[in-house]
């Protein structure tokens, strides 16, 4: 299987392990991710606050490149996914991008990476490649906002209670916990400008994961992962309550289940050290 791939700006930097793990897992599953040639920033999280035309046109340029490549576009970052889906809908409704040549007929579709692996690659292939069970893990799956909402943009089947990541992790053996905070906001867009506000949202999610009986959190968005992983020490210091819960990208756990030796490198990039936890669970 061959698809176009839009990594976005953070998958080479702050979310490097997300890029590495998605690419690693795709290789194991026999999927060729063809990076979109000369892609540009989709405009998240600031273009839509600044100028409506800019917010659509920046993302739309990438769709036009994707159409030329002629394959569906897989997008791991939830924010990029959301902006590209907005552009997809606008272009289909007849919007023309100013300042560049237009060529988009709506033939190629934008897909988030979780549903791509679960729905397009499929359970059978994923299970075939699994060498280790994730049965020792009790995760909650955290989807965040933008692969679900709003459904008129994302085409999500169950925007208030998405299932794909739960089923994917479950298929690999993990004992996934149910919780009501799957799609509650972590404050990703506010983490630099209003950190004290974002910290409250993060703390709530960490508390609720614990209350659900989870021993780790699985995420599918660079902003969500960064927020939940990077600030635990600081929130512990501010609140006097100890937080030390590993946060993984779903693709990292897939890599561990596939026994990909590179997976150990990916998870070592986290701020909240997951190594003792993974050793205890027999996964590394």
């Amino acid at each position: 299987m061959k698809v176009s791939y839009y990594p976005g700006c953070s998958l080479d930097g702050t979310a490097r392990e997300f890029g590495e793990s998605v690419e690693g897992v795709a290789k194991t599953l026999g999927v060729e991710l063809k990076e979109l040639p000369d892609w540009n920033c989709c405009g998240a999280s600031s273009a839509h606050v600044t100028n409506d035309t800019l917010a659509v046109d920046l993302a739309a340029r990438n769709l036009q490149i994707a159409e030329k490549a002629g394959m569906d576009l897989v997008v791991p970052c939830a924010m990029c996914f959301s902006r590209l889906k907005v552009a997809e809908k606008e272009l289909k409704a007849g919007h023309k991008v100013g300042g560049i040549t237009n060529a988009y007929s709506g033939k190629v579709h934008v897909k988030d990476s979780v549903s791509f692996f679960w729905e397009d690659v499929g359970e059978k292939t994923v299970k075939e490649k699994a060498k280790k069970s994730l049965e020792a893990l009790n995760p909650v799956c955290y989807y965040g906002c933008l692969t679900s909402r709003p459904p008129k943009i994302t085409d999500a089947k169950r925007p208030e209670d998405p299932q794909d990541m739960d089923m994917l992790m479950g298929a690999l053996g993990a004992k996934v916990k149910n919780w009501s905070y799957k799609t509650d906001c972590c404050g990703g867009s506010l983490i630099l400008s209003l950190p004290e506000v974002a910290h409250k949202l993060i703390q709530k999610l960490l508390d609720m994961a614990k209350e659900a009986g989870a021993d780790c959190i699985v995420a599918a968005c660079p902003m969500c992962h960064g927020n939940l992983d990077m600030w635990q020490k600081e929130i512990s210091a501010h609140t006097g309550k100890e937080y030390n819960i590993p946060v993984f990208y779903f693709a990292e756990l897939m890599g561990l289940a596939f026994d990909d030796p590179a997976a150990q490198k990916w998870v070592r990039r986290h701020a909240t050290d997951p190594i003792p936890f993974l050793k205890q669970k027999g996964l590394i």
């Binding site: 953070s10 930097g13 606050v49 035309t53 800019l54 100013g98 300042g99 709003p150 209003l194 990039r269």
Partner: protein, 191 residues
């Protein structure tokens, strides 16, 4: 923090509603104040005017109170309100329109760091075609917290991330900067 206060009695002025409706493409007047947006919003604890009141105030023409509110800058664009509105109003998009209006008209933002962040982010996109995270985060911190803030940030988070290989020193190579600049120019002309 400026806490916006809403007046008890109002003489409705439709011009602000008409402007917001035109710019956002959303029907503010379709709101029947069910408060679903406010009840689902995860950020009301940091807001001064609740989301349903922002919509009502916009309808009534309380331009100054809305544009000076904390709410428009505290909104995290999580899209819960938009998803749940029974009348199909894209409330998160109206928040975007209000933020844009406030910036265009030079209204001082009650949470001043939020527009500083967005300007820095958009600036990085325009310069490189892709966001150069290190440059963007450093420039923003410098503007928002000064040199001391930047040094503190570097010591606490920056070096840690660098050690983990998560910081790119140089911007990503992007060729077609001209196209991105044209997109910017055209969007700015349209306003």
């Amino acid at each position: 923090m400026t806490v916006s206060e809403l007046p008890k009695t109002v003489v409705p002025n439709p011009s602000f509603r008409a402007e917001v409706e035109k710019r956002s493409g959303q029907k503010v007047s379709a709101c029947f104040q069910c408060e679903k947006c406010t009840n689902g919003c995860p950020l009301t604890f940091a807001m001064d005017i609740m989301p349903h009141k922002v919509i009502r105030s916009t309808h009534m023409g309380l331009k100054e109170a809305v544009l000076k509110s904390d709410t428009i800058w505290v909104c995290a664009s999580c899209e819960t309100c938009t998803t749940r509105c029974p009348n199909g109003i894209d409330i998160a998009h109206i928040m975007d329109t209000l933020r844009q209006t406030s910036q265009r008209e030079g209204v001082p933002a009650s949470k001043k760091n939020v527009p500083v962040f967005h300007k820095t982010f958009v600036g990085s996109m325009r310069r490189w075609g892709r966001v150069h995270e290190m440059e963007m985060a450093s420039l923003y911190t410098l503007k928002a917290q000064g040199l001391c803030g930047l040094i503190k940030q570097g010591k606490s988070q920056g070096f840690e991330m660098m050690k983990k290989g998560k910081v790119r020193i140089l911007p990503d190579r992007f060729k077609n900067k001209g196209e991105v600049k044209n997109i910017f120019k055209n969007a700015e002309k349209k306003g």
